[in-house]
Amino acid sequence: MKKEDVYKKLTDAVVSGDEKLSTATAHDAISMELDAYECIQQGLNKGMQIVSDLYEQRKVFVPQILRSARAMNMAVEILKPHLEVDSKSSGTVVLGVVEGDIHDIGKNLVKLLCEAAGYTVVDLGKSVTKDAFVASIKESSPQVVGMSSLMTTSMVGMPDVIAAVREVDGNIKIIIGGGAVSQSYADTIGADGYADDAAKAVKLIGKLVGA
């Protein structure tokens, strides 16, 4: 099997939400001594992007996304110990879904990819209050805070969080994502960046922390 075939198999496993296939293929990849990071990026992540696109086009729905995320997660768990992680953390990222919103699939993907890229991630979970964000940044002094929101009803809370974060530490970069928001919304509320998928979010974080 060529490495491109392995990547493709990983992609297919995520798209079809087949965790048996994704884990077996991850083990094959290790046994072939393929680069674990490439397997995540070229294989699993690509699959997740396809699923995200299908979701946007309303061709798949949340249960499928969840199955795909699970298939991806389980394969990542197998590949992670083989990642060439720099023993120094590249930085700390605080993540949370804003208050009133419980859609955390995207946020979980960002978390996975951030960890794979060597960041320390503090995951506050879903429906996170402004105070919880503030308490967390006081405790863990992150370089980046990421907020997400899938619903227009919850995205309106973002400016408040941004103001509170800036008050604690003006140097912290704040990025937003999720179905409800956009680059122009990010510009409007004074966020430092926006990304429309998890892979772009990690690249954005890298740019913001100068890694």
Binding site: H27, D28, I30, S31, E33, P81, H82, V85, K88
Partner: protein
């Protein structure tokens, strides 16, 4: 005429540091069929080339970095490689194995082994890229801690290089100095890092992708896939990934398998709670880390902040929790993680460091230290700060650290308390108690590298129920029963000799539930030898006995088949209350099972029966007098 063996490169690199020259030497199939590789190969080189009068730190001592047949196969467990030399701890055969990706990289350079000889006038390291060999100046690296050394060697050579290096402990000849590989694996035991230090040899960086020709590459591929898949499904394997070797601590401690208070303590379950998983994982923020091509990923990467104990690096294994934690009565897992990190960076074995520190604590409590030696130090049981301080003193060889750097056995002898240092042949006993697993008593006493829980891991059968059906070990025996325990030790030692020479990680079998037969299929697919299990088993017995010959030749024979008194003294309470193995009887049984004389010496016939013909030793060793042949 050279008979090339499939599955090997049939090439060994000789590095003469005195002259600064390297050359390639050819090996062949007849040699590999007898000694397999790794620790088997190393024993042969020691018997032939390092006479008994040579001190481990003299230039005439040699260090062998050896692979076995498995290192080019990507089969799980094949990341391992063996490091062999005359040990500064035992003054005879010493070996240690590490993983990461160094073994496969060595093979990738088109070599089966590297033999480092002589002594360089100034610090050097070795860089091999595919077939190109270069000795480079290491003056700028001398004095650097291990992780910085590895980073520096990588940036000087290639980001893709696999690096094995020593740290300040090796340079300062701390007798239990180790070799650190790729910042997450260690050839810890036997003190060979110090031998490299004596040679002014900082380490080796390797990069290459050569593979030898295989007898049946297609079949080998199928077997590899089969082994990987079986192992990936193993429940014990999944547990190992989740908890690593620290997962054993709770059980081991509750059973008083874990040493406490320099082996005098018992019943420490409450005190040991912090070290147990899942607390270990939570407190240290654990991530699993794997050697190349391993589906199990038992290594731990930890990262946490703490005013005195912050660590970002490899986490402590079970042995370290036992030796630097429980055996010193230290309860705080973060402190043990810090102690582990310090040892890693100085480049020293945590088992022997823990043993020396525990003895120092006992000596301090009992007032054995002359006041001028101890100064204003307070070496109290359970004090994490003093443990860290002593590691520093050892690593720098300052003050009392200078004596402790000679190892617990020498520390005990210096204090006139020889019997209180817990070692066999000079190598400290690791964190498994023979008063619980009786088989360990024989296993330790006749260990060819000294007390070892891995070149023979019968405790895994007694405690964990690890079975070896091919060897007839089909059920977990009962604790404290004597019957069959000696035989269990002998079987495990023979199996351990295969692991050390093949070279394979025993966790594949102990935790990954891999089958020995399947690995034998792989060996046959590589080499075309067509070995039966009996052939393999005989090979293990052969290598073990050959290492024993080196022990005897070096004056470390049967007279050293003893256990420290502490390990034969029953505990007043706890899980093994009142129990101790009937050691003398078991040793007699061991000699009998081995086919040795009742004094513990192998005979000519016995040796021939396992394939050690007189021609393999008689130029260097006289079986009639059990002495070296002086030419």
């Amino acid at each position: 005429m050279i008979l090339l063996s499939s599955g090997y490169h049939n090439k060994v690199l000789r590095v003469d540091l005195t002259k600064g020259r390297t050359r390639i030497e050819h090996t062949d199939e007849r040699f590999y069929k007898v000694f397999l590789g790794g620790a088997g190969m190393g024993a042969k080189i020691l018997l032939d080339e390092v006479p008994s009068h040579v001190d481990p730190f003299q230039p005439a001592n040699k260090v062998v970095f050896a692979t076995g047949p498995f290192q080019s196969t990507r089969i799980p467990g094949s990341a391992k490689w063996s490091l062999i030399s005359k040990s500064p701890m035992t003054h005879t055969f010493g070996d240690s194995a590490a993983g990461a990706s160094f073994g496969p990289s060595l093979r990738g350079c088109g070599l089966d082994a590297i033999v480092v000889e002589g002594r360089s006038p100034s610090p050097v390291y070795l860089w091999i890229e595919d077939g190109t060999v270069e000795l480079r100046d290491a003056s700028a690296l001398w004095g650097l801690e291990t992780f910085d050394t590895i980073d520096a060697m990588k940036s000087d050579t290639s980001k893709k290089a696999s690096v094995a290096a020593i740290g300040p402990a090796g340079e300062r000849l701390v007798r239990f100095a180790c070799v650190v590989v790729d910042k997450h694996s260690y050839a810890g035991r036997s003190g060979i890092g110090a031998v490299l230090g004596s040679k002014k040899f900082k380490g080796i960086a390797l990069s290459g992708s050569a593979t030898p020709s295989f007898f049946d590459g297609g079949a080998l591929d199928d077997i590899r896939k089969d082994i990987t898949r079986t192992m990936a499904r193993s429940d014990r394997g999944k547990e190992l990934r989740a908890w690593g070797t620290p997962g054993g601590f709770a059980t081991y401690n509750a059973l008083d398998n874990t040493p406490k208070k320099n082996w005098d303590g018992s019943s420490w379950t409450e005190e040991g709670k912090e070290m147990e998983t899942p607390h270990y994982n939570e407190a240290l923020n654990v991530k699993p880390k794997a050697c190349i091509s391993c589906p199990l990923a038992c290594h731990r990467h930890v990262s946490f902040e703490h005013p005195s104990y912050g660590v970002d690096g490899p986490g402590p294994e079970y042995e370290t929790l036992a030796m630097l934690g429980a055996n010193c009565l230290v309860r705080e897992v973060r402190a043990v993680a810090k102690a582990n990190d310090l040892c890693n960076r100085y480049g020293m074995d945590t088992i022997s460091a823990g043993s020396a520190i525990a003895l120092a604590m006992e000596a301090y409590e009992k007032g054995w230290f002359p006041p001028h030696v101890i100064g204003d130090l307070h070496i109290d049981w359970g004090d994490p700060a003093i443990v860290l301080h002593l590691i520093d003193l050892i690593g720098k060889r300052e003050g009392i650290g200078s004596i402790m750097a000679e190892g617990a056995a020498t520390l005990g002898a210096t204090l006139g308390k020889e019997g209180y240092a817990v070692h066999v042949r000079g190598l400290d006993v690791p964190g498994h108690d023979p008063r619980l697993s009786y088989s360990l008593s024989v296993n330790y006493a006749t260990g060819t590298r000294g007390a070892c829980h891995y070149r023979g891991c019968p405790e895994e059968t007694e405690i964990g129920g690890f079975l070896l059906p091919e060897y007839g070990v089909t059920k977990k025996p009962r604790f404290f029963e004597v019957e069959d325990k000696t035989r269990l030790a002998v079987i495990h030692q023979n199996f351990g000799a295969i692991m050390g020479s093949a070279v394979l990680c025993a966790f594949m079998f102990v935790e990954g539930e891999a089958s020995i037969s399947r690995y034998l299929d792989a060996l046959n697919a590589m080499t075309g030898w067509g070995w039966s299990f009996e052939d393999l088993s005989r090979c293990g017995e052969r290598i073990y006995n050959f290492q024993r010959l080196v022990n005897i030749r070096d004056g470390k024979g049967p007279a050293y088949d003893v256990l420290p008194k502490k390990l034969l003294t029953p505990a007043p309470d706890g899980a093994r209350m009142g129990k101790a193995p009937p050691f003398d009887d078991m040793m007699q049984e061991c000699y009998k099972l081995r086919g040795w004389t009742k004094e513990g010496y192998p005979t000519r016939e016995m040796l021939a029966s396992v394939g050690i013909e007189p021609s393999l030793y008689e130029d260097h060793f006289d079986l009639a007098t059990m002495k070296e042949v002086i030419k």
